[in-house]
């Protein structure tokens, strides 16, 4: 069940690619504009081949692509798969958000009741002490 589903298979690759902090940092960098391998390697204490390996994973997941500029071959971010991954979680979030909004109201009610009870108890105690 659920295996081999094309959309789910796609998500597998996307999430596997996103599971690594270096790759997420690369994506964050590319979110602000395209960059060459050398520029991408700069902020990391990593060799260019190591960075290239990460880029290949991101590329295979369709998260980034190469521009046509033959000399620099800058990488750029691709919105599609990333959007699908966020949407997948967004659904899960929405599933629960409805419940939690009702819970907010219920908690307000419980708090009011509790405060009222506390006040009543205090008044009773106070009156008892007066007698």
């Amino acid at each position: 069940m659920g295996y081999g589903n094309s959309s789910s298979g796609h998500l597998d690759v996307t999430f596997a690619a996103l599971a690594d902090p270096t790759r997420r940092a690369i994506l964050a960098r590319l979110a602000s504009g395209e960059a060459s391998v050398m520029e991408l390697a700069e902020p990391f204490a990593m060799s260019q081949p190591a960075i290239s390996k990460h880029l290949k994973v991101l590329e295979r997941a369709g998260l980034i692509s190469r521009s046509r500029d033959a000399q620099r071959r800058p990488r750029r971010i691709e919105g599609g798969p990333l959007g699908e991954a966020t949407q997948w979680l967004e659904g899960y979030r929405q599933f629960w958000e409805g419940s939690f909004e009702r819970l907010d109201d219920l908690l307000d009610e419980m708090k009011t009741k509790q405060a009222k009870q506390l006040k009543e108890d205090r008044t009773k105690k106070h009156e008892r002490n007066k007698k």
Partner: protein
């Protein structure tokens, strides 16, 4: 008045989904709302779904049985067994849905600061495939839910009153 906290959903590992949400109430109350059937019935389940069966035996080794009924009359059942109960801080239970394969482990942690409770729920699925299937179905419900809300919004000339939620402070 709505004091809606933001629900954050992340995937810390391949087999997990983690949710974080803040509530404007002390954790004793949040814990109570999560464990008492008469309270659960008032909030648990997606929009327009009602909790028609809600049995809770809140002991380690005890369990729960929920059946939610959707607007189209469809039932969605789930059951669980408590592994660890530490009110009002933490609980761990195993949970399975009638319609999905596998059993997942649900760890809920509640921390309190200045009268606010942060709830963190981590669901560990038996496999990545099952996690993805469940979340995918959540997406369908989620989408349906937002359409419902939109329809409600478009047709609401008399919004349902929020009941007696007068805030003391």
């Amino acid at each position: 008045m709505k004091n809606t906290g933001t629900l954050k959903v992340t995937t810390p590992t391949d087999r997990e989904i983690m949710m974080t949400r803040e509530f404007n109430a002390p954790r004793t109350l949040v814990y109570e709302a999560f464990n008492k059937p008469e309270l659960l019935k008032r909030w648990f389940g997606p929009h327009c779904w009602s909790l028609t069966v809600c049995d809770v035996d809140a002991r380690v080794g005890g369990g729960f049985r929920f059946v939610m009924r959707g607007p189209d009359g469809r039932d969605m059942g789930m059951r669980g067994v408590y592994k660890e109960l530490n009110p009002p801080e933490r609980s761990v239970h195993m949970e399975s849905y009638d319609d999905y394969p596998g059993e997942s482990q649900v760890t809920s942690v509640m921390t309190e600061q200045n009268g606010m409770t942060t709830l963190t729920v981590t669901v560990l699925y038996p496999s990545k495939e099952i996690r993805d299937t469940v979340a995918q179905s959540g997406m369908e419900h989620g989408a349906a839910e937002s359409y419902d809300k939109l329809a409600e919004l478009l047709s609401s000339s008399s919004p349902a009153s929020a009941g007696e939620t007068r805030l003391a402070g």
